[in-house]
């Protein structure tokens, strides 16, 4: 039992290390993952500025922009990752190794969280410097709680999606595209999801980024409370539930999908 745990912790850290090294070695993320998203975020800030909206709206947008980094990481570096691992020939080696595939997925998540946090914090930092966004620092402990829960549930969802994407071929690419743009709208990255109405916002809450962002905004921008979808406490409770469901489901799905993949030979087919 302990031997097995150590094996899986080692596998997890080993996979996370790939991302740590990648971040250090491949510096393209600075222009592509920090500066370009900041340009997109700036557009919304200038729109709000031209409409003479209060500066808290800038904070609103900057927080949304940093959360987009996590969502993109989930889609392209978690959900589609096993598909890419199969294309490069790594996947069969993951499966014939004695460690659980979940430990590799968690390693990807840990590495992804680290790499994306560097990017997200860079966006927030540049937002503070360039746009002097107001932040209510007293709400930081609550914000950290909301943020951590959001990450756990978000990456739980990512692990779940990666199993599903594994069964797809080239469609994995289209699925990621499909989940990218609409989520920009439904997760309220640039506006409060409350505006979407109760039912649409409820459905959007299945994406942890939606509620996570809403609760983050409530903690760091007290003036945003009237625009909040649900109370902070309820959102935190839902995020806890989503975390448990997504992580549990990802464990179940990986097992099932490995079985299907072994039966149908999908672990070995490439470039289909």
């Amino acid at each position: 039992m302990i031997k097995n745990l150590i094996l899986n912790i080692r596998a997890c850290l080993g996979r996370a290390q790939v991302r740590f090294i990648g971040l250090k070695r491949d510096l393209y993320w600075i222009p592509f993952d920090v500066l370009l998203p900041l340009l997109g975020v700036s557009t919304f800030i200038f729109i709000y500025k031209s409409l003479k909206m209060p500066p808290i709206t800038y904070t609103f947008v900057i927080l949304g922009g940093s959360m987009i980094s996590y969502w993109l990481n989930i889609l392209w570096s978690m959900a589609s990752q096993l598909y890419w691992e199969r294309m490069t020939g790594n996947l069969p080696l993951f499966f014939i190794a004695p460690c659980s595939i979940n430990s590799i997925l968690i390693g990807m998540a840990v590495g992804g969280i680290y790499a994306t946090s560097v990017r997200a914090l860079s966006i927030i930092l540049l937002g503070i410097i360039f746009f002097k966004i107001p932040i209510y620092w007293q709400g930081l402990p609550q914000a950290i709680l909301a943020f951590l829960l959001t990450l756990i549930s978000l990456y739980g969802l990512g692990m779940m999606l990666s199993s599903i994407f594994l069964l797809s071929g080239r469609e994995a690419w289209h699925l990621s595209n499909l989940l990218q743009e609409p989520i920009y709208l439904f997760s309220g990255f640039f506006f409060p999801i409350k505006t979407l109405g109760f039912w649409v916002a409820s459905l959007a809450s299945l994406i942890p980024a939606s509620l996570g962002l809403d609760s983050l905004r409530q903690s760091l921008i007290p003036e945003s409370k009237p625009f909040a979808f649900l109370s902070f406490e309820i959102e935190i409770t839902i995020l806890c539930i989503l975390s448990i469901i997504y992580i549990y489901m990802s464990f179940i799905l990986v097992k099932k999908i490995e079985k299907i993949a072994r039966r149908e030979g999908r672990l070995i087919t490439r470039w289909q």
Binding site: K3, L7, G14, G89, P92, I96, A97, P98, C99, I268
Partner: protein, 320 residues
């Protein structure tokens, strides 16, 4: 010790679009003892890789059963995985953003090898495989031969009881192929572990394997040592002879001898003859002496593994 056993193992793939059934393996029954290199020889698409995939727990059989180290591949796969490893030719797993050492360390962690031990093993193998100077180079800058050496190191990191090598020298230059073959032989001698090797290179199979299974269209057609398989080749007894000038007319008078080929060059005669039985060669030699000619060269032509393969499968290993 029996390391692998398959009983009536079959695997069918169904093309979802055309609904066409492809029987990749048909009732394969094998028993493989440990401590040897067991070769699976066949043409492309013969079923070699499918068999390896089932034995390495990547694929489930459609019917029949397979046991690796006594464990069933279907439901005891997790007991098999710590004791096996797989190296496939023509594939380059790993991460381009990492160097050789980092890649190997990553793969060692999938087997839970303690950090210090993993690094010691990696350093030892990197030295043994002549990759010291490239150890800190990113994998995507390596040559094909260097990549394959790295893959072989990866396959050895967990000290597997059974190492599966799927066409390990495919696409490699002569020097890299030779290095890998020599290493394989040395590893087996030193460790007494087992290697299951699939190849479509006859010379490689003949050089390395203690036993060879010839597979075609998903069936095992023959299983024996390379020398016994060669004996299954052509039944003809062939001799190549070179003499001083001589008319070959006399051969027509010896019953059971036929000329296959003759050449007259630089005052010498080279000819190839087929004999119905081995004893006829003494008649031929005596007659040459009687006719006052000297034998410069005489060699019995051995049947090659290729001859045996053609005889068993009905076509050459390279035919499409």
């Amino acid at each position: 010790m029996l390391v692998i056993e398959t009983i009536n193992l079959s695997r069918i793939f169904i093309n979802k679009k055309t609904k066409k059934r492809i029987e990749a393996l048909k009732n394969v029954s094998l028993q493989i003892q440990g401590g040897q290199i067991f070769g699976i020889l066949g043409r492309n698409g013969a079923g070699k890789t499918t068999l390896i995939r089932i034995l390495t727990t990547l694929l489930l059989p459609t019917s029949g059963s397979a046991y690796v180290l006594g464990y069933n591949v279907e439901n005891e796969y997790y007991k098999i995985r710590p004791y096996i490893n797989l190296v496939s030719g023509g594939e380059n797993p790993g991460y381009g953003v990492l160097n050789i050492k980092e890649n190997l360390f990553f793969f060692s962690q999938l087997y839970g090898i303690p950090r210090k031990l993993a690094k010691e093993k990696i350093n030892k193998y990197i030295k043994e495989f002549g990759l010291e100077e490239r150890a800190y180079n990113l994998v995507n800058t390596l040559s094909t031969g260097e990549k394959q050496r790295m893959q072989l190191i990866r396959g050895l990191l967990n000290d597997p009881e059974i190492l599966f090598l799927d066409e390990p020298t495919v696409g490699l230059d002569v020097e890299s192929s030779r290095f890998i073959r020599q290493f394989i032989k040395k590893w087996i001698e030193e460790t007494g572990k087992s290697i299951i090797l699939t190849t479509h290179y006859l010379a490689e199979a003949e050089e390395l394997c203690n036993l060879i299974a010839i597979i075609d269209s998903g069936r095992i057609l023959a299983l024996d040592t390379p020398s016994r398989l060669k004996a299954m080749g052509s039944k003809e007894i062939l001799y190549e002879i070179e003499t001083t000038p001589l008319s070959l007319e006399f051969l027509k008078n010896i019953r059971g001898v036929s000329i296959i080929q003759d050449k007259y060059l630089d005052g010498k005669v080279s000819f190839k003859i087929s004999l119905e039985n081995e004893s006829l060669i003494s008649n031929v030699i005596n007659k040459i002496s009687e006719l006052g000619s000297n034998i410069i060269y005489l060699r019995k032509k051995e049947t090659s593994l290729e001859d045996a393969f053609i005889n068993i499968v009905g076509r050459s290993i390279e035919d499409d």
